[in-house]
């Protein structure tokens, strides 16, 4: 279908959620998870300023590179790995069809 992709989100209990995602609404992964009522806070609203949408990219998709802001924010996050990203900085695009992410643990 036009402008609809499917992405996989693995929640903190290891459960897989297959989500349909529109690519023509300027949505990002944080917003998509929130709209599916997955436990992603998105406290700062998507400004790469809180790290509450920290997730790991587990598929080999070519996700656009991290900005300095995102890299800086990940410095204040915990459980950071090489494949760590802020969901709010991953914008849904046709090229991300089949993307798999895993939600990072939440700290205290």
């Amino acid at each position: 279908m036009d402008h609809i992709i499917e992405v996989n989100v693995i929640d903190r209990d290891g459960q897989l959620h297959k989500l349909e995602a529109p690519t023509d609404m300027g949505m990002n992964m944080m917003e998509l998870c929130k709209s599916a009522e997955l436990p992603v806070e998105g406290t700062c609203g998507g400004m790469a300023m809180c790290a509450s949408c920290h997730m790991y990219v587990e598929s080999s998709h070519d996700v656009p590179e991290k900005s300095d802001d995102e890299e800086d924010m990940l410095d204040e996050a915990f459980f950071v790995e090489d494949n760590s990203r802020l969901g709010c900085q991953i914008y849904l695009a046709d090229a991300l069809d089949g993307l798999t992410v895993r939600l990072a643990p939440v700290g205290q």
């Binding site: 700062c44 300095d68 800086d72 204040e76 915990f78 459980f79 950071v80």
Partner: protein
């Protein structure tokens, strides 16, 4: 004891606008905020970011919005208790609330308006097992007085300005030994701070451990050792007197969650008729409240504040009639 009509918890945009709307009804306000300055998230998180959905402002910087709200509230002479967190509430014999902060400052008012946004900003604590046992026993999340670290061994974690600046400060003749630990190779602080830290590391005054993080803390009563894990080179143990993890602030609902308010998903449930909570006399407005259809927008908070003060007025003066007066007709008559 500070006495007022409406005690506002949270000095963000919503709390500040409440002062204006309450002032039009001749109600006085006092604001309490855990942060040392007014403005809430707008000042603390994104002062230089533009906001595009404030009516009549195609674009306004968050910091400028706060300045203008302060200016708008000024005729009504709001009081401020800043840098203190609203901790406990109780009712006195005259049905007024007594609110005490974490520093013991007492406030008294018939009405409380919670405009707490995301909650209070508290230091992010790294997920190290058993860490809380060492809090104030070698682990501090904020450096209050650098003299506290004189001739002590100090480990600082973090890659931002505060980690760099404190490592530099303590390494220049205060602490006996300073270690700076950071998850990556690169630091994101001001270039000159980064350079200075590198110079001090070269000179042997800062032990710099990059690509590393603290994974364990140990000690008998007080902190004694930290286990530091390098990305590729394995673990090492550091002996230290103090560990100061500096990972910024994140918001927590905080003590409000113990006030017997109805709370869902970190937000206070309200009646959209007047944004009252389940406790008579306590209202919740802005990002901290929730109701069917809630949108966390500053402009919605302004609307909520406006309706809320009408209800507060009727609660304080049940026998007085309230007539909406337009500011364009009557002007703004301050106190």
């Amino acid at each position: 004891m500070i006495q007022t009509d409406i005690l506002i918890i949270g000095a963000g945009p919503c709390g500040l606008f409440t002062v204006f709307e309450a002032g039009l009804l001749k109600l006085r306000c006092h604001l309490i905020d855990a942060l040392p300055q007014a403005g809430g998230q707008c000042s603390e998180i994104y002062p230089k970011k533009p906001i595009y959905d404030i009516p009549a402002y195609p674009s306004i910087l968050a910091g400028d919005l706060v300045d203008k709200l302060m200016e708008q509230a000024a005729p009504f002479q709001p009081g401020f208790t800043l840098g203190e967190r609203a901790e406990t509430i109780e009712k006195d014999a005259e049905d007024q609330f007594i609110l005490t902060t974490n520093r013991g400052t007492k406030h008294r008012a018939p009405i409380i308006a919670i405009a707490g946004g995301l909650g209070c900003f508290e230091p992010r604590k790294p997920p190290v097992p058993g860490l809380s046992a060492f809090e104030d026993r070698g682990v501090e999340y904020i450096i209050k007085d650098p003299e506290f670290y004189r001739e002590k061994r100090v480990v600082i974690s973090g890659g931002g300005d505060s980690a760099l600046d404190w490592a530099i400060f303590l390494a220049e003749g205060v602490a006996s030994h300073v270690t700076l630990i950071h998850r990556r190779q690169e630091f994101r602080g001001h270039l000159d701070s980064v350079q200075k830290a590198m110079d001090l590391a070269q000179a042997g005054k800062i032990q710099l451990l990059t690509d590393s993080e603290v994974t364990e803390a140990h000690g008998d009563g007080a902190l004694q050792t930290l286990v530091v894990k390098h990305k590729t080179e394995g673990e090492r143990t550091l002996e230290t007197d103090h560990w100061v993890p500096l990972f910024g602030l994140s918001p927590k609902l905080g003590p409000i969650s113990d006030w017997n308010l109805n709370v869902t998903k970190n937000a206070v449930e309200v009646d959209t008729f007047d944004y009252s909570t389940n406790i008579p006399g306590i209202y919740a407005i802005g990002d901290i409240n929730t109701y069917p259809g809630k949108l966390k927008l500053i402009l919605c908070g302004f609307h909520e504040a406006t309706l809320m003060v009408q209800s507060a007025f009727k609660r304080i003066y049940p026998d007085k009639n309230l007539v909406l007066k337009y500011t364009t007709v009557n002007g703004v008559n301050g106190f």
